[in-house]
């Protein structure tokens, strides 16, 4: 590929995200101003607090499950499948994996083996739950949007049914929360002290999240399977015409998406709560937002996840200063909406510019060395 600097090509990817962040800042400024709060000191406060070492560690912690969730959603998106079911997939996966990992008959099994087992079971369960939606789609033509939303609710029901003290749940002394049995210490993944200046480590599982990102990039960008998947997403009929088995691709993409979704609950399981509880939800939906913001790109989603973590972390300080922390929710929402709109707009403009240039180059004799 030629390395000629092509400003027309650079335009949409550069303007879209910057524009989106700008719009988000403007909208939240208006909200702050209307609420009678000072705009710039508020942002300064957020940046100041959000850039402290403890905040950086917290941001990385938050970004880890968000990133996994975003990758899970993105695998579906690239194939044109809208997997809304990440939320249900990870919850039921984490519950069953945690229950197995903490079960008393596992006591003799070494910690490392148990960790591997928990990860594998979580991925399998996540894949199986997503597989239900895939099966419904290829056999009965049920839209995955509908089926995954319904499966989320069913997963919630299953979790409620199973997480009681007479089934998979236990109740720690003095606690009111029903959880799976608390994992013994050798099944915990200790925090990594990668942020200096704070005692707070970062989820050890962040390494797995990074590996998943690399695997995602490699699989989609560097393999035949990935090409088929993207082709099926970009132009289904053309893909089928060129010999891609559409049904097989739907099943494969949903299983993969579900397997990655199965990992979403694990950073907290291994590094924070050491048991499955229902205190956390909604990670699956955050993942969809981040996949949109990061436009399904492994690095884009990483920045999306970090931005999300940063915003949520810095929201805490707003509360302390009496500024509504919902400001941050508004920022997040506008950023996602704006990035989608801005990307569409700028790519539209670029297409027109490119068409114009092509038109000009056709009208005049083409210069040598036209790039492909």
């Amino acid at each position: 590929m030629k390395t000629r600097f092509d400003w027309v090509r650079l335009l949409p990817p550069l303007i879209a995200p910057l524009g989106a962040i700008l719009i988000a800042l403007v909208v939240s400024s208006i909200v702050l101003a209307v609420g009678g709060k000072e705009v710039f000191p508020t942002f300064e406060l957020m940046l100041d607090y959000g850039s402290q070492p403890g905040s950086i560690a917290a941001m990385l912690d938050k970004a880890t499950p968000y990133y996994l969730s975003a990758v899970a959603a993105a695998i579906g998106f690239r194939m044109g499948l809208f997997n809304i079911g990440v939320d249900g997939q990870y919850r039921i996966a984490a519950l069953l994996a945690a229950a197995l990992g903490g079960a008393s008959f596992m006591d003799a099994v070494p910690g490392v083996v148990r960790i591997v087992l928990i990860v594998l079971v979580a991925m399998l369960v996540g894949a199986a739950w997503a597989g239900l939606a895939a099966l419904l789609k290829v056999t009965r033509g049920v839209s995955e949007v509908i089926s995954t939303i319904m499966l989320n609710t069913i997963a919630g029901g299953f979790v409620a049914f199973l997480l009681t003290t007479d089934k998979l749940g236990v109740q720690a002394a003095g606690s009111n929360a029903v959880t799976t049995p608390i994992l013994p210490k050798d099944v915990w993944i200790s925090d990594l002290p990668i942020v200096s200046g704070t005692k707070d480590g970062v989820f050890g599982f962040i390494v797995v999240a990074a590996l998943v990102g690399v695997a995602y990039w490699f699989l989609l960008g560097r393999t035949r399977f990935g090409f088929d998947l993207r082709a099926a997403g970009a132009n289904p009929s053309a893909a089928v015409a060129s010999g891609v088995d559409a049904k097989r691709m739907v099943i494969a993409a949903m299983l993969l998406s579900g397997a990655v979704a199965g990992l979403v609950g694990l950073p907290q399981l291994f590094g924070e709560q050491h048991a499955f509880t229902e205190s956390v939800g909604g990670l699956g939906f955050t993942g969809i937002a981040i996949a949109l913001l990061g436009r399904n790109h492994p690095i884009g989603m990483a920045f999306g996840a970090l931005l999300w973590g940063f915003l949520e972390r810095s929201a805490q300080i707003l509360d302390l200063e009496g500024i509504p922390k919902e400001t941050v929710t508004i920022m997040q929402g506008t950023a996602v909406l704006a990035v989608v709109v801005a990307y569409e707009l700028t790519s539209h403009v670029t297409k027109r510019l490119q068409q114009k240039r092509v038109g000009e180059s056709v009208a005049t004799p083409a210069p040598t060395g036209v790039s492909a």
């Binding site: 090509r9 879209a16 940046l47 917290a58 029901g157 997480l163 009111n176 929360a177 970009a234 990483a302």
Partner: protein, 361 residues
Amino acid sequence: MGKEVILRQARGMQLLAVASAAVLLLGVSACGGGDDDSGTGDGKTKVKVGLAFDIGGRGDKSFNDAAAAGLDKAKQELDVEVKDLAANATESENDKYERLKLLCTSGYNPVIAVGFVYAGADPATGPVAKAAKECPDTKFAIIDSVVPGSNVASLVFAEEQGSFLVGAAAALKTTSGTVGFVGGCDTPLIKKFEAGFKAGAAAAKAGTKVLAQYISTPADKCSGFNDPAKGQTVAEGMYDQGADIVYQAAGGSGSGVFKAAKAKGKLAIGVDSDQYNTADAAVKDVIITSMLKRVDVAVYDFVKSVSNNTFAAGTLTFDLKKEGVGYSTSGGKVDDIKPKLDEYKQQIIDGKVTVPTAPTS
């Protein structure tokens, strides 16, 4: 064409990444790194109280508001500075830990965590335990859970005792012989309310039928504490099954129970606060009494103990004896049976009656 689009997207993402990095870095360098720990002991003698609310925060007319009342009273009477922070509906244990840590590292001492969610899945390593370790010089209190630690006071309530009294009131007041219990969430904590209510009803009038139902479970994040519509539906069902008095331990969903009582021309019993005074004026006449859980007393007493240096770590149970639980008489609907109820109260205080903490059936 597909390849082209994909390539362009990939290129776009790299740039988005770089752009967001630039934005983040700009912010970081512009403001520099602040101090992580600040404000601890800067010579001020005034006690700074930090309080972290449960989901819902101020304005739930129930549990959180009771804590807020105690905090406000402390602010007025003890001349302390206060700061309260609210929780998000979807936040992790780490977020709760960070909130407590933010308070203690910003110089707030004592720090009060309202609600068992702050104890975490494993109270020994949960948010309060972790924060107490992080700020060993700060005194912590947690309401509704027991958390170990030499600087943690666990403030728990004998909800079953107060519920026993309103259960007795319900049995004495019912004309149909059937009463109901609506729990916000199927947790051991709310089961204590049910257990006491049933025991009280059985003691006051043997053979009283008690219908019990929970609006939600921990698996749906205890949404039943904040779902008035569901509270109304469940209560309507009970009234239709012949109950004429329904006791609600369902936080914000209680308003729905009162609405159902009003619509059906039946009665209800409130919880936590004196709901005859806090509920919507249109429905308050259905409330014959409320089981008082004096979270306000617990919060106030705790702040007081810190401000006059009598803080003691460990579990502190607020029961009938300490007036940490009780029943309300606003509205005058239980005045005629008050002697009877006070008799039960005395028997419990004297230890002649022991109230179960888990329902038998």
